[in-house]
């Protein structure tokens, strides 16, 4: 009897399960549009909600957002998917993946997919509405290549409560000012454990290089012609390493030992727990950093990334990622994907995305919308990155490098910084060795990819 009851229960459960599956199978005639992005936190949630909204507006499409761990892993997964012919309709690539994405031949430029259309499914295209630096970075060979989405710059976050306590009321603007501020902070009673920290991510080295108007790679940072050599072991590059080394030796700089994509979280943790008073970070998390202070009872301000006093400030470069459209999609998938990308970056959503995260409002109309709502007056931290880019002089250096195997080369750079901070070796020879290693990687990449 007992057994029979159990059997009935199992059958009932199976039927119940089937009844949920069958209708799902039956009504599933919407066009599937898989979209891979590199977020796994609140940014993924925001995007998934937006996709749900889109799917409701257009029942003929089903945009399916898949989140990933980091830019680096999504980049690797995409290459694997390409090998297996299982590419999604849209992939989010970080700026460092630009050259690899172009060389792969897997993607279609947004301009050619739009083929001169003024709107897609009712969403206006308005490519000229994108702000200058963004349009410039992703316009390659004169063509709008990938759809900008999350754009940031490297900025500086200050725990003003600690800085004020040490008698400093303006955020340091230069390296010398950072050192002076650190001296004051570390000298006071109840000083934090360290003065400042930074993510050991190749992007910050690139930022400090660009500030000094120094190139990362030859051929105009790979923008005039394909880059064939890295040139970051210049005086400017050595200056960056020497400054960091000095700061670490003085006990000002906290280095968590984590490199690349894994380094971000260690900075969050140090800043949130007030183990450091200042941090270099991406403007992508301005909202998060500002709220960190609100939640933990200290005041956070954002400022420009401090620069080398000796060489002055030319400008900073952008970072972040764009959405790449797969080539060879069925017509309805491509139209749906384009419509979603335009929806994702329309005025209202670009503004909301900026408010939620801190990434730049990438459309002029979004900036206007936010300004009219008085957003920037009540949130001064949120204008810092945009101002920093607006005041930058556009040179090949501040436009950022376009170079093959960039993610691997970044690993070489972060390993060099690791070496400088942890050994007594001299910065020039470390950077020379890193450049040699990077050149081998680049040479091999070009050997495999140049037509």
């Amino acid at each position: 009897m007992k057994q029979r009851n159990r059997l009935i229960l199992v059958v009932a459960a199976m039927l119940l399960a089937l009844s949920t599956v069958i209708p799902a199978l039956a009504q599933d005639d919407a066009v599937e549009i898989p979209v891979w992005i590199a977020f796994s936190d609140y940014r993924l949630d925001w995007t998934v909600e937006l996709a749900a909204e889109f799917n409701e507006m257009f029942p003929q499409y089903n945009v399916n957002i898949v989140g990933g761990y980091s830019y680096e892993t999504v980049f690797a997964e995409t290459q694997l998917a390409a090998e297996q012919g299982e590419l999604p309709a849209v992939v989010q690539f970080f700026e460092a993946g630009t050259q690899d994405a172009r060389d792969s031949g897997l993607f279609k430029s947004i301009a050619s997919a739009l083929a001169g259309r003024e709107d897609v499914e009712g969403f206006p295209v308005a490519l000229d509405d994108f702000i200058g630096p963004v349009a410039a970075y992703y316009t390659l060979d004169g063509e709008f290549t990938s759809m900008p989405w999350n754009t940031s710059s490297a900025i500086w976050f200050n725990n003003m409560s600690i800085l004020n306590e040490a008698g400093i009321d303006t955020a340091p603007a230069t390296w010398d000012e950072v050192a002076a501020a650190c001296e004051a902070i570390m000298a006071m009673d109840g000083a934090p454990e360290y003065c400042f920290t930074f993510p050991n991510h190749g992007w910050f080295f690139e930022q400090w290089l660009a500030q000094q108007d120094a190139l990362f790679a030859n051929n105009g940072n790979g923008r005039e012609e394909r880059a064939t050599e890295v040139v970051f072991n210049s005086e400017a590059g050595v200056a960056v390493l020497e400054w960091l080394d000095e700061m670490a030796a003085a006990g000002y700089l906290y280095y968590s030992g984590a490199q690349g994509g894994d380094s971000w979280a260690t900075v969050d943790q140090a800043f949130q727990t007030q183990q450091v008073a200042m941090a270099a970070y991406s403007s992508s998390d301005t909202t998060f950093y500002t709220n960190m202070g609100v939640d933990n009872g200290f005041e956070v301000t954002a400022s420009f990334l401090p620069y080398n006093d000796d060489t002055g400030w030319t400008g900073n470069l952008i970072g972040g990622a764009t959405m790449w459209l797969t080539d060879g999609l069925a017509e309805d998938v491509e139209t749906g994907a384009l419509a979603f990308l335009l929806f994702l970056t329309d005025t209202a959503n670009a503004a909301s995305w900026h408010q939620v995260t801190g990434y730049m409002p990438i459309r002029t109309s979004a900036v206007d919308l936010l300004a009219s709502e008085g957003w920037f007056e009540t949130n001064p931290n949120q204008t810092v990155a945009a101002d920093q880019l607006a005041q930058s002089t556009v040179t090949p250096a501040t436009s950022g490098a376009i170079i093959g195997a960039f993610p691997s080369i970044r690993n070489v750079v972060t390993a060099a910084i690791d070496r400088v901070l942890l050994t007594d070796e001299d910065a020039q020879s470390i950077l020379d060795a890193a450049a040699a290693e990077a050149n081998i990687i680049l040479e091999e990449y070009n050997l495999l990819n140049v037509e």
């Binding site: 060389d103 894994d262 380094s263 691997s408 690993n411 990819n449 037509e451």
Partner: protein, 398 residues
């Protein structure tokens, strides 16, 4: 210098012939036939690696390291072919069966039944083991990236360039000492805890069950738990040491300490498994032996050292093998969570971590494949040595 392929084949055939004829002569076989078999085997053996490589290691522009490596490949290829051939003939000639038969029970008469029964296993092995292994061998001779336009054949550069690669040498040494530390510390601690847990106390079974729990936790979770505890700025360990001793260690960001953090986490992770086996082993130590020794006046330590440890030798041997494999292959997740990127100054980058970093992180498939083959050969060699030495010790102990 160039060495002609024909010369290589002739030389290989001669060596093979000499070797086999000697084997045949020792077993009173037909020496001429032996010479023929040996020549054929030697030729085929020398070609196993050289045909796919197209004798590239002996080209003019190649270095001495390449020549040596090529010779090594030829010798290995010959051994792969000749040793089973010679073994089979020596068994045949001395009148022994090829398969040591355990009496008449359970042997198949026909050929079809065993083949049908084995097909699923062989199929799985072919698809998931042998094919990927061959693919790894192929990749190790290439410069290759996922999504690249083309692949470039680089002969054995991926191997021979490692000869003067100081960074790689450091990684190998580091892997060896970290693995040795994990195995030794892990086994010693496990034996101590198992001995204590085996004491007849109240609630021992609950206590023992709890001890085995760490084994059920995935390496990634173990990594995160340890990361939270050992975090240099916010972790509880440094909070405690600062309160007690006034100093704090850079558990994850000091290149001298970081490997030890990985070792501690890995030891903790594998301890449950080791304790489980040691408790089982302790239950099998004969009580009368211990009592007799006690009566003869042996103290606790003498009994432990002279009776318990030898009695546990077979289990210790088994645990050394499984723990070494664990230390070599399964610490990746622990390392990656504790010290992402392989640690400050690469101080926690083991061979396995390096392979993943190169292959997945840097998308450098050829170099990663070559290094994974080296790792594979090392573990095989290591296991053979252990089986040779450990097998004898355990048979005398039981």
């Amino acid at each position: 210098m160039t060495i002609s392929p024909v010369l290589i084949i002739i030389l290989a055939a001669l060596v093979g012939a000499a070797l086999s004829s000697w084997v045949f002569q020792r077993h009173n076989g037909n020496m001429l036939f032996g010479m023929g078999v040996g020549a054929l085997g030697g030729t085929i053996g020398s070609l196993i690696f050289m045909i796919p490589l197209n004798f590239c290691t002996f080209e003019v522009e190649r270095t001495t390291a390449d020549h040596v490596f090529g010779t090594f490949l030829i010798v290995s290829g010959m051994l792969i072919v000749l040793s089973p051939v010679n073994w089979i003939f020596s068994r045949r000639l001395s009148g022994q069966n090829l398969i040591a038969s355990q009496g008449s029970q359970g042997t198949f008469k026909g050929f079809a039944t065993p083949v049908i029964l084995l097909t699923p296993t062989i199929g799985i092995l072919l698809v998931f083991l042998y094919y990927p292994s061959l693919e790894t061998l192929r990749l190790s001779t290439l410069l290759a990236r996922l999504g690249a336009r083309r692949e470039v054949f680089v002969c054995v550069d991926n191997f021979t360039r490692l000869v003067d690669d100081q960074a790689y040498f450091d990684i190998v040494i580091r892997t060896l000492w970290i693995s040795a530390a994990i195995v030794i510390i892990g086994l010693v601690l496990s034996l101590l805890i198992a001995t204590m847990a085996y004491l007849p106390i109240k609630g021992a079974s609950i206590y023992r069950t709890l001890l085995i729990w760490p084994y059920a936790i995935s390496p990634a979770v173990a990594g995160i738990i340890f990361l939270l505890m050992f975090n240099p700025t916010g972790g509880i360990i440094n909070h405690l040491t600062r309160q007690i001793t006034g100093t704090a260690l850079g558990w994850t960001n000091d290149p001298n300490v970081a490997p030890w953090t990985v070792i501690i986490a890995s030891v903790w992770k594998s301890m449950g498994y080791n304790i489980l086996f040691y408790i089982a082993g302790l239950q099998n130590v004969p009580k009368d032996l211990l009592e007799a020794a006690a009566i003869d006046g042996a103290n606790v330590f003498q009994r432990f050292y002279n009776i318990v440890i030898p009695q546990l030798a077979p289990i210790t041997f088994f645990l050394i093998v499984t723990n070494s494999t664990y230390a070599f292959f399964e610490t990746y997740a622990t390392i990656d969570y504790l010290t992402p990127g392989g640690g400050p100054l690469q101080s926690t980058t083991t061979m396995m971590y390096n392979v993943v970093q190169l292959g997945v992180g840097n998308n450098d498939l050829g170099k990663a494949a070559a290094r994974s083959i080296i790792l594979f050969l090392m573990v095989i060699g290591f296991t053979i040595v252990q089986f040779r030495s450990g097998g004898q010790r355990s048979s005398t102990a039981t």
